[in-house]
Amino acid sequence: MTKAGLRIVLLMCSSLFCLYWTIGIPSFAHQSEAPALTLTGPSGAVSEGYFRLHAEGDDTLHNAPAETQLLFEQSDSEDFASVIRRYPAMGEFNQVALSGFSDGRYYFRAAVFQATNAERVAVSNVVTVHVQHHSLNRALTLFAIGAGIFILLVLTILRYHLQTKREGTEHD
């Protein structure tokens, strides 16, 4: 084979390899390198006990949702020594809204699993959510103010209604 011929063969082989790599055979591509997955959560302390977690990633999240499953995992330690709870994302969404948490620090990460064999193919960074509810004193003060205004309003409407009703009857 001449040098020129060899170059052509090498060029064709490398082009095919690039094409193959670009289009890809999913299993090969996914097995060789774990895709990047980023998890974001609330920036400051959460005062209502509910918050959203949002996962952003590559092909595993966006191109083959039927083959993969996105789960949000919770741990009681930042190093994720153990997963204490899992929250599956609904349908093809890549975020989850969680609620009902008491005061404390909670650790979350997102993970993508193969739907067929439950093998984990991607794991995100760990997000710390700090839940610090409003003060109960402040809440009860607002509750008392609200109750006071409401009672005043009901009494005002009742008084005026009965008064106009009485006046109407007198006119009749």
């Binding site: 809204a97 609620s99 009902g100 699993f113 509810h133 409003h134 607002l142």
Partner: protein, 481 residues
């Protein structure tokens, strides 16, 4: 590993239901609209609505995205208080009952809530009131349009923009054909569908799921949802009540109903409508509490209601939920379109731009406004910018400031225009500051408190003695003519 909850309905099935029901509503609207001869027929159904239709439209209009999507959302966020607090919004309808009788008595020829504020308080208060009304109406219209898109997306995975556009198109079209008569008649049918559907969902959910597993999961993993000392939820309770009261007391949706009902009917209709409405958020809210136990964690809290119901009840349940929520949305969207177009036609066009416009001209303008509002809502809904709850509660700062000026304006001759204008403007401002600096759960409460304080001080200092006969515009015109 937990299975990922998939969509309960095929997207083409979801779209097919929308098309079938859409065709039914539009045909019905067209059929009813044939008898509309005057603008009064179109805008106020001839002021002759009887008790059954009146109670049904009061209840059905109040069952909306609020109760079918936002009540589960707030239960998912605030737990027990979210559910119970939401049902207290029925107090708005119940306390409006005496007000509606008074409205009917004072404004025998009135068209809108704007009419009352203009005649009672003068132009400045009226201008502030119109801004508040329009912010609220547009906010509610957007939330309803968004709810349509979210509903279809949550149940069938159909693209948000497609679902939202389809529901808006259907409601605009049948309101355009039939006016308030079509709105009230469809509300009656929609109310029956809503009651039957909600009861069915609740019974099936209790039979299949039970209370104990739900309680166990919540107390282990989401304890605050069961806590009666959940701070944000405690703050939310009275805020939600004042928000509901403000919505009903000021909105032309309810004033047009009070003016369209027969004279002796208004009081009873609002009272019965409120009592019928009371248990509905409890049922829709309970659905949301079952979500964690079922392993359903929605992408956005406003998706939780339909997602859980559909997951538990399967395809049949999903169809039921879909029809119920679609009916609820349609019954509110059409009412709001009709009432807001009346407000724009009567208050802005007739009273300020073209006072000489005749009945035929007003009829035509009213219809054009309906189309315009539909297009405007659609444009605002395209980007899904906020959750339904957040969007609705933003308007709470506005509407709650109108509660005291409306109540005093209807009964106390000593309150004047300056007091009402200040109460509404400062109430709204403080409510908005509270919304942004503390949270949405204090916006309406702050607005109502400030507005109430200004109203009481204003009445104490006032030397005004308003003559009620000035509210009867036709009689006054007759005297001056």
């Amino acid at each position: 590993m937990t299975d990922t909850p998939a969509f309960a309905l095929n997207s083409s099935v979801g779209l097919a239901i929308v098309v079938v029901f859409g065709l039914i509503w539009i045909t019905f609207g067209y059929y009813l609209g044939r008898s509309n001869k005057t603008h009064e027929d179109f805008a106020l159904a001839g002021r002759n609505v009887g008790f059954a239709f009146a109670a049904a439209t009061a209840m059905a209009t109040w069952v909306t995205s609020n109760t079918t999507l936002v009540a589960p959302q707030l239960t998912y966020q605030f737990g027990m208080w979210g559910m119970i607090g939401y049902s207290f919004a029925a107090l708005g309808l119940i306390l409006f009952a005496p007000l509606s009788a008074r409205i009917r008595e004072l404004l025998p020829h009135g068209y809108t809530s704007g009419d009352f504020i203009r005649l009672r308080y003068g132009k400045w208060a009226w201008r502030i009131f119109i801004v508040i009304s329009m912010v609220y109406a547009i906010g509610w219209l957007i939330s309803l349009g968004m709810a349509g898109g979210i509903l279809l997306q949550a149940l069938s995975g159909l693209d948000y923009q497609v679902g939202m556009s389809a529901i808006l198109f259907i409601c605009v079209t049948y309101t355009l054909f039939g006016g308030l008569k079509a709105v009230i008649a469809t509300d009656f049918i929609q109310a029956l569908i809503i009651i039957v559907g909600v009861v069915l969902v609740a019974v099936l959910l209790l039979m299949r799921q039970g209370l104990e597993p739900v309680h166990e999961t919540l107390s282990m993993n989401h304890p605050e949802l069961l806590s009666l000392l959940f701070p944000a939820a405690i703050m939310f309770l009275f805020n939600n009540i004042f928000f509901g009261l403000g919505e009903i007391f000021h909105s032309n949706v309810w004033w047009t109903r009070a003016l369209a009902f027969k004279k002796k009917v208004a009081f009873k209709a609002f009272l019965v409508g409120g009592l019928l409405w009371l248990p509905i958020p409890i049922v829709t809210g309970f659905v949301a509490l079952a979500a964690p136990q079922l392993g359903i964690f929605p992408a956005s809290p406003d998706m939780v209601g339909p997602s859980v119901a559909a997951h538990v009840l399967g395809t049949f349940g999903a169809v039921v939920v879909f029809i119920v929520v679609f009916s609820a949305l349609a019954s509110s969207l059409d009412s709001l379109l009709a009432a807001t177009s009346d407000l724009v036609t009567r208050d802005l066009y007739h009273k300020h731009m073209n006072p000489k416009a005749d009945d035929a001209r007003l009829f035509k303008i009213n219809r054009r406004v309906i189309v315009g509002l539909g297009v405007l809502t659609w444009l605002f809904c395209l980007p899904q910018v906020a959750t339904l709850g957040a969007l609705l509660n933003f308007t709470g700062a506005f509407v709650a400031s109108t509660i005291w000026p409306v109540v005093f304006g209807l009964y106390n001759p000593r309150i004047n225009g300056l007091t009402a204008a200040l109460a509404m403007a400062l109430g709204t401002t403080i409510g908005l500051i509270a919304y942004f600096s503390i949270g949405f759960y204090v916006a309406a409460l702050s607005a109502c408190a400030v507005s109430g304080a200004i109203t009481f001080v204003g009445v104490k200092l006032s030397k005004t003695n308003f003559e009620w006969c000035r509210l009867n515009e036709k009689a006054m015109e007759g005297e001056s003519g």
